[in-house]
């Protein structure tokens, strides 16, 4: 297994093409816009080597018998699914933000079963391709990104009906030695600092859309593949200094990019689905279930940090014993643990797939994520309430360091007398940045938008059974 430093060094071997604010970045590993996200991902590597975390962050490969990073592991029991959630919480507590590696992990697990099922029905060889790729990932301890979301264009139209056929990624050519694909994948967390990109379709597909039913993996620096790194709230602060970023070491959210595939060649041995459109919906559901499972783990870890920050700022303000403050902290903990409960529940109720791997309970996984879309906003609202308005008005780090006005900043931003004013400002900045627009939007839309979860929840609600329960108790004969 690599260490964090080895992971960072390995990125320097990649020739990835990354654009940010109109320019291609050279020396992108050191670029201040990207480096915090790289540091966050590096934590997933380092924790696998630390004795107090290795039980969660590492596991034994069922393919090779070797100790591997759990982010490359295939779940083989409900216990494994729960361990994943605990791992995500543990890492979230250390980084205070998204650490990106779960997306590729979920893609590997989703494809593990779906390729098996395609092969069973169609006589294809995709599962062997996946196993070979998985061994490569496990042996080299690679970070993969899982690329699902297409730009989609007019959401009312199917992929083949779009004004521009590239608004959904698709196959443009099938050759003897592989396929050529064109399109883009949006909102790709951690793509710029991954070794491999795993692509999947984003929706169930009809017969006319079979060329959009494609799944594969390519190195992140493949010819024809480039990234346009997205802007975030307050991202120019990464270029200005330390304190005003709030979490300067690990940043906010994961660092997302548009990954553009301009006629990228994929060798057959890296193809996991090619026009078997009947399985596109299953792959989407599998991936979405695994990914929605995560949020009660990672967001619980992040919320733990936020709760700690709010408890601290209450102390700095001298109000930690005020009943309304304690009440608000209690509510933050309640909401956080409810999210965690959901993730553990969907894991504990996991079931075995045809391939032998384990999948979470999809109804409970979607319940988890739907709760996250609401609770993180409420947790953040409570954080703003506790922290006070100064988090939206405080002066910059440059003002604090200025010899003339710094003393005024120190004097008038003092809290309790025994607390250095800089500490109050620092914790205020952490709260401000952890609860800003980018962080909230990620909680809303990461792993799929709320309506997607509602669709899945209703689909699995088993309403007929529930109706029969009610009819029976009301003494009404059940329909034939």
């Amino acid at each position: 297994m690599m260490t964090g430093q080895e992971y960072i060094s390995s990125l320097r071997n990649l020739k990835s093409k990354i654009y940010f604010r109109g320019e291609q970045i050279t020396n992108w590993v050191e670029h201040p816009a990207l480096r915090p996200h790289i540091n966050a991902a590096a934590v997933t590597y380092d924790m696998a080597h630390q004795p107090q975390f290795e039980d969660l962050v590492s596991a034994r490969s069922h393919l090779t018998g070797q100790r591997i990073n759990r982010f490359t592991y295939i779940h083989s029991s409900p216990g494994d699914l729960m361990a994943k959630v605990r791992m995500l919480r543990a890492v979230g507590q250390q980084t205070g933000t998204c650490f990106q590696r779960c997306v590729g992990h979920d893609a590997l697990n989703a494809l593990y079963d779906v390729t098996f099922q395609i092969d069973q029905q169609k006589g294809t060889d995709y599962h062997r391709h996946l196993l070979d790729f998985l061994k490569h990932v496990q042996t080299n301890d690679l970070m993969c990104t899982g690329a699902m979301t297409d730009p989609k264009g007019d959401r009312n139209l199917a992929p083949h009906q779009q004004a521009n056929p590239d608004l959904y990624l698709h196959i443009v050519e099938k050759k003897k030695d592989g396929i050529v694909v064109r399109g883009a994948k949006a909102h790709q967390t951690g793509a710029v600092n991954s070794h491999e990109i795993i692509v999947m379709p984003t929706i169930a597909l009809g017969p006319a859309d079979k060329d959009y039913a494609v799944s594969f993996a390519v190195p992140a620096d493949s010819p024809g593949l480039f990234y346009i790194f997205g802007r975030q709230t307050n991202d120019s602060r990464k270029l200005e200094g330390d304190m005003d970023q709030g979490n300067p070491r690990y940043g906010i959210v994961g660092g997302e990019a548009l990954a553009v595939f301009e006629d990228v060649f994929v060798p057959w041995q890296r193809v996991f689905m090619c026009s078997e459109r009947e399985f596109a919906g299953l792959l989407v559901e599998r991936f979405a279930s695994y990914h929605r499972q995560n949020y009660g783990g990672c967001k619980a870890g992040v919320a733990d940090v936020l709760i700690g920050a709010c408890t601290t700022i209450a102390k700095y303000h001298g109000v930690e014993n005020a009943s309304h403050i304690k009440d608000k902290i209690t509510e933050m903990v309640h909401l956080t643990e409810t999210l965690y409960c959901c993730s553990i529940a969907c894991s504990a109720q996991g079931s075995k797939t045809a391939s032998g791997s384990f999948i979470v309970d999809p109804l409970l996984a979607n319940t988890t994520k739907l709760n996250v879309t609401r609770f993180m906003y409420e947790i953040s609202r409570l954080a703003h309430d506790i922290a006070g308005g100064f988090i939206a008005t405080m002066p910059s780090e440059q003002d604090l360091r200025n010899p003339q006005i710094g003393p005024y900043v120190e004097k008038y931003f003092a809290g309790a007398a025994d607390v250095p004013p800089e500490h109050r400002l620092r914790i205020g900045r952490l709260i401000e940045n952890m609860t800003g627009s980018t962080a909230l939007t990620e909680a809303m839309h990461g792993a799929g938008s709320p309506q997607a979860q509602r669709v899945m929840i209703l689909r699995q609600a088993n309403l007929e059974h529930k109706q029969n329960l009610a009819l029976k108790l009301a003494g009404i004969p059940q329909p034939e």
Partner: protein
């Protein structure tokens, strides 16, 4: 006695197992602390940071002759009470 420490995953710790392990290894007499993989191991101290005790598993216990299971509330099934986690572990160790 050859003893090893096995941590749980520390996902949401109620006690500081890292500090507890360090203090234990410094203070305990007559114990040679080794890695769990360096057989033979007379005793494995399974340090769980909460009552769920994820590290208390057969595959962990099997790596040593005997086990001493610690959670945030109990040592080998006995409540820590007023003793403090470190003293409770040391007391249990002297009985080994």
């Amino acid at each position: 006695m050859r003893a090893a420490i096995k941590f749980c995953g520390t996902c949401n710790p109620q006690i500081d197992t890292v500090t507890a392990a360090r203090e234990l290894q410094t203070r305990s007499k007559g114990v040679t602390w080794i890695n769990l993989s360096a057989a033979p191991v007379d005793l494995v101290v399974i340090l769980n940071a909460c009552p769920t005790a994820c590290a208390d598993r057969l595959d962990v216990r099997e790596q040593a002759e005997r086990s001493l299971v610690v959670t945030s509330e109990m040592v080998n099934g006995r409540r820590i009470g007023d003793l403090g986690i470190l003293q409770a572990i040391e007391l249990a160790l002297t009985k080994e």
